[in-house]
């Protein structure tokens, strides 16, 4: 009994303060969480809309699509969105992540409605070296993906390929830049797996 009294005497302030502070955070969270979620959705929509300009709306797919990540062979869930315009599917977009040079790279990738061609990609989050690796954000690099076939992409060194030619060959930022390799790896790893699963689930036509 004395022990409990001693405990309360010593720590009543801590207990009361924890309760008050917890309440304060709960109130702030309740007031702001909706807006934070909306910001996230807005950003995603803005990026995806730039990739699929004809789309009017994006509907998150209910079906679960899982891909195996490259490093640890872990299964990861992928959010796939259907881009629609006047009730017609005009394309698909999905968010995938993989390791970059310094940190995780999160991409949003868009493809056309038959999963034949890439509509492009954009970066949701990355922390690549400024001036070098972060050139994956630049148009000259990203434009190579617009219209490229939605299959395994190959990376070639600068000078060996033509960056303006749209094919499955992507010209790297430099031969030794990890970031451009990382982007190709993320796309290669996800695109076939997602395509196959969506074909299995009859969400897109079978092209075989």
């Amino acid at each position: 009994m004395i022990k409990i009294k001693h405990f309360i005497q010593q720590s009543w302030l801590l207990i009361v303060a924890s309760f008050c502070f917890g309440l304060l955070i709960a109130v702030a969270n309740a007031a702001l969480s909706e807006r934070i979620e909306q910001n996230r959705i807005d950003k995603l929509n803005r990026l995806t809309r730039a990739l699929l300009p004809e789309a009017e709306n994006f509907i998150a797919l209910d079906t679960e699509i899982e891909i195996e990540s490259t490093r640890r062979g872990k299964k990861e869930k992928v959010k796939v969105y259907k881009a629609v315009s006047e009730d017609e599917c005009v394309g698909w977009s999905f968010n995938v992540a993989g390791s970059g040079f310094a940190d995780k790279i999160e991409l949003v990738i868009a493809v056309d409605k038959d999963f034949q061609k890439l509509a492009g990609f954009d970066i949701l989050a990355s922390n690549e070296t400024p001036g070098f690796g972060d050139q994956i954000k630049y148009d000259y690099f990203r434009d190579q993906f617009k219209g490229a076939p939605a299959e395994e992409l190959a990376l070639v060194k600068t000078g060996e390929g033509n960056p303006r030619k749209i094919d499955s060959e992507i010209v790297a930022i430099t031969g030794a830049t990890v970031s451009s390799e990382a982007v190709i790896e993320i796309i290669n790893n996800s695109i076939t797996q997602i395509k196959n699963q969506m074909q299995d689930k009859r969400l897109i036509g079978n092209d075989k």
Binding site: Q10, S11, L13, L14, A17, S18, F21, L24, I25, A28, N29, L32, S33, R35, I36, N39, R40, K43, A125, N127, T129, P130, G131, F132
Partner: protein, 214 residues
């Protein structure tokens, strides 16, 4: 009565100025080096960081000062951390809601304000021993000192790494940006040079003051 209020005014002014120069948290106390080095690649994130720190410092100093007579000595650090963590979480939520871009740029460095030494140092050294008004002024002085320092550092780095300040072009066309300045190496070099400069200036001021006394 006038004497007392005059003494008070002197104390307030002293406390406010201490944070800006004499006890500047970054240049003189060398506290809070992690955000100083990490978020000063451009002025905008540095300013946002500084404002967040001012908010947290002000709130935690107020709360700690109000409960300073109730604190148990062996539980005080726990109480400080709890208070700071609460306000940092609130600041983080606000940034995410109203400044999502800045929140992304600052990333983990906003939650890391919890372990920023400046705030714990001010709670321990000032707020837990002083009345409310002094604690508030101390928080404002220290916070402003931190923010100004961060902005100076960020200004130098942004100017040299992109030729811009606050995202507005200032350098002439022929200027070749130094990409290294926006990387960690630029942070260390700039901080080192600025620390040297501040030390040199304060040494000079000290000798001047000594000469005057003689």
């Amino acid at each position: 009565m006038t004497n007392k209020s005059e003494a008070n005014a002197g104390l307030y002014k002293d406390t406010l100025l201490a944070g800006l120069w004499r006890e500047n948290p970054v240049f003189r106390l060398l506290l809070g080096m992690c955000p100083t080095l990490a978020v000063t690649a451009a002025v905008k994130p540095a300013l946002t960081m500084g404002l967040c720190v001012i908010f947290v410092l002000l709130c935690s100093n107020i709360v700690v000062s109000l409960m300073r007579n109730l604190l148990k000595p062996h539980l005080r650090i726990l109480m400080f951390t709890l208070t700071i963590a609460t306000f940092v979480t609130i600041a983080d939520l606000f940034l995410k809601a109203f400044q999502p871009e800045m929140s992304e740029v600052l990333g983990p460095y906003v939650p890391l304000i919890i372990v920023n030494c400046i705030i714990i140092c001010r709670a321990e050294a000032c707020a837990s021993k002083n009345p409310l008004v002094v604690s508030i002024i101390d928080a404002l002085g220290m916070g402003a000192g931190f923010t100004v320092t961060l902005c100076v550092l960020a200004g130098v780095r942004e100017l040299l790494s992109t030729g811009k300040i606050f995202e507005a072009q200032v350098m002439p066309d022929w200027f070749v940006p130094w990409a290294a300045m926006s990387m960690p190496v630029g942070a260390f070099i700039t901080l080192g040079l600025l620390l040297g400069l501040v030390n040199a200036v304060s040494k000079k001021l000290a000798t001047k003051a000594q000469r005057k006394e003689k």
